[in-house]
Symmetry: D2
Subunit: 248 residues, 4 copies
């Protein structure tokens, strides 16, 4: 039985995480912490793993406090840059407490990123379209940006030629934003939640990879898989792909 | 039997038009004109209608020469602005020779524009994604720009509130180009020909309208319908929708 | 101010309808009736219109009771056949109380049906794919069946040739079910709610019309539009299209 | 320089293969054989590899004749069953001449099969929709059937529970054909060529994998990759995935 704490338990993702933990047989929810609660042994109630869904301004401090308390963090809050990840990696190694940080816990989104990485070297062209609800503050999504970077890296590794594009006139900026050399398009539409489509093209053919996350519940299988896996993965694990057994 | 001339008969669209005319029972191909041929009675061989697929630099002069020669033009060349259309309208009315100019002869593309116009007033959000082969010089496509304008006009007529969009950060320009207030995204991908997708969203639902034109043959049913209709439509007809009986 | 009763108020659709009515300024919710409540003046509390979301076994009797009580029914329960509709039409005309019965209140779904009807005569081929959650008991959906019938009727009216189909071997029945001569395919997939895609094809081109209803909230704008319109539409109105101003 | 013969050179696939071989620098086309030509040293003109695109009734005999002649076959003709494959495997091993037989040479189609195999164990539900031109004689396509089998095998290997499906009424057979326990739907639509879509669903999310093969040219990069690889792969290679480096 894995003892789980949820940090940010009153938020929408946190509430959903509490329900998910309570619904499975191999975990028990031992603590719900919210904004005002100190992250210490008193409040963590002997948790083995802590699921952290808070806000970018708090997440890094929370993770280090969890490592100090000997509780393995599983983190879904966004806003982590390379330097912040490196600080967690060092702290995790020094403390012997493992951590997992993932930009997206939805299995379909993780698979689209992984398959895009695998497919990139076989195609002449690649573009990314992400579609979200209109309350989203930033464009493109972190997942779309990471997808573009994975495609770009795979193309570089394969020595791919630049993508063909004869565009000479684009006065309104319709050709999208370039992320690592890959055009990324962001749609904001009432009714949608979080969706991504990756298009690959060769002469005569197209490959389309699409992830639809209709609501928050789509993240929970990935969160549970991460809770189960984190204690067996030394140091920092970044991204859900290795937990799913997709790593090559 | 309708006597048809093709102007620009050696080009790719012109060749396809010649084949299409020859393949139907109610038309006869009486003349194939190319770049060096004068557009006059000698070369037009008694044509009733002339299908014109040339280049933006020549099309307006060709159309006026056809009207002078008493031959009704059906025009698929792009690049017409409002002033040039108005000059043809006046010439057609004065001469009593009808003309039809359409930015797109593919029935699926015409229907997507028409249905987008009808749907626009029922939805909170609307965006347009057009996808073409990477040899295309301009973005967005004329069809996508016209679609955005039709949506914008229908929303104005209905007194629609502005579309919701909370985007605060978009450093790479991923949110697309605004055409008449509607975001338009242009994809250029090897393997594709000419495709358009219009997304409409309300709380809890999405409507998607999509046209795929896989090759030039997709234009020919629309061209033939226009050849059959042009002589019965006084003055200038702009767009294929009225020919298809879609006008309201 | 329109006085509204909800019949089936404890069900999932009924609860959502109660919330929708309470959220707008031009309606007031005067009664919530459930399975055990008699549909009479005492329980209807002076309602002008009653939104009825119950079950196929009860809906027809409920509608006649509402007409007897002088309250205009707006009905979203499925399972109505032509004979039952005719009985309501006669009762409505005789009583001078109007009624509206619609198989689907989602605007995107209504528009897909309407646009499919308009498009059908322009295309060689047409097929319908409906996709729902795996708890659905019947296939195809009522909306998909009605879409197929509208396409078939429009093709008959236009004198369309039979659709081409060279299939000689289909041992597993993969070509779908024929509804009024139109192939219909039903997908049942965890994660989905209610989705429909209509494909039309000509040589060289495809038209795709798609509706995605992600949750029950997608029905409410249509329900509210029907509540506002029913008292001005004498007799029985079948389907939401005329309320949306889409009727030709 | 690889010396290549094409068997079935007058057919549509054969002609396209001849053009593809002639267009690259590392191959030379040494022979074009058609129906009446004997497959022997005289006609094969010293070829190293023979691309075989004929008909199901001839392909097996052709392949054995090529092996006898010491020429490595790369076979795109469909209709191979397990027993026929086994006979080629034995002949290839005994003769020391390699062979490659693939049901589909389009890279996008091969990747959809491979990604479907990888994804299958993570999802509650899976269905396959294949869409082809209406001249196709059989349903489902060989590629769709193989995709269903790969999904079924991966689910068995992972101990997956049966897919949920509450369908009780399906009088017209809209739920598709079961192939190895996976529902497969076949669409036949004017304008289409060869397309496949695989849908995977979990609570709250969907993964879509789609391949569009717009014309025969989409097969040629895969054919050329197979021609380059076959001599280095002892015995029989079945499918293009290992040639693309996708094998695990």
């Amino acid at each position: 039985m894995i003892r789980v704490a949820v940090i940010g338990a009153a938020g929408r993702m946190g509430q959903t995480a509490c329900q998910a933990v309570e619904a499975v047989d191999d975990m028990t929810l031992v603590a719900r912490l919210d904004a005002d609660d100190a992250i210490d042994a008193d409040h963590l109630c002997g948790a083995d793993v802590a699921v952290e869904f808070t806000i970018p301004a708090h997440t890094e401090a929370n993770v280090h406090a969890l490592l100090d308390a000997g509780v393995a963090p599983v983190v879904g809050t966004t806003g982590w840059d390379d330097a912040a990840l490196e600080r967690v990696r060092e702290h995790a190694c020094a403390s012997g407490v493992n951590a997992l940080i993932a930009p997206n816990f939805a299995i379909s989104a993780v698979l689209v990123m992984e398959f895009a990485r695998q497919a990139a070297r076989y195609f002449t062209s690649a573009e990314v379209i992400e579609m979200h609800h209109p309350n989203k503050l930033d464009a493109p999504s972190g997942t779309a940006a990471q997808t573009a970077q994975l495609i770009a890296q795979a193309r570089r590794d394969a020595g791919a030629a630049p993508m063909p594009d004869a565009t000479q006139m684009d006065p309104d900026g319709c050709r999208g934003g370039m992320v690592a050399g890959v055009p990324v398009h962001a749609v904001r539409l009432a009714g949608l939640n979080a969706h991504e489509e990756v298009l690959f093209g060769n002469t005569g053919e197209q490959l389309v990879l699409r992830s639809d996350c209709f609501d928050r519940s789509s993240f929970m299988p990935g969160v549970l898989a991460a809770v189960r896996a984190v204690r067996n993965r030394p140091g920092l694990t970044h991204g859900l792909a290795p937990v799913l057994g997709l790593e090559h």
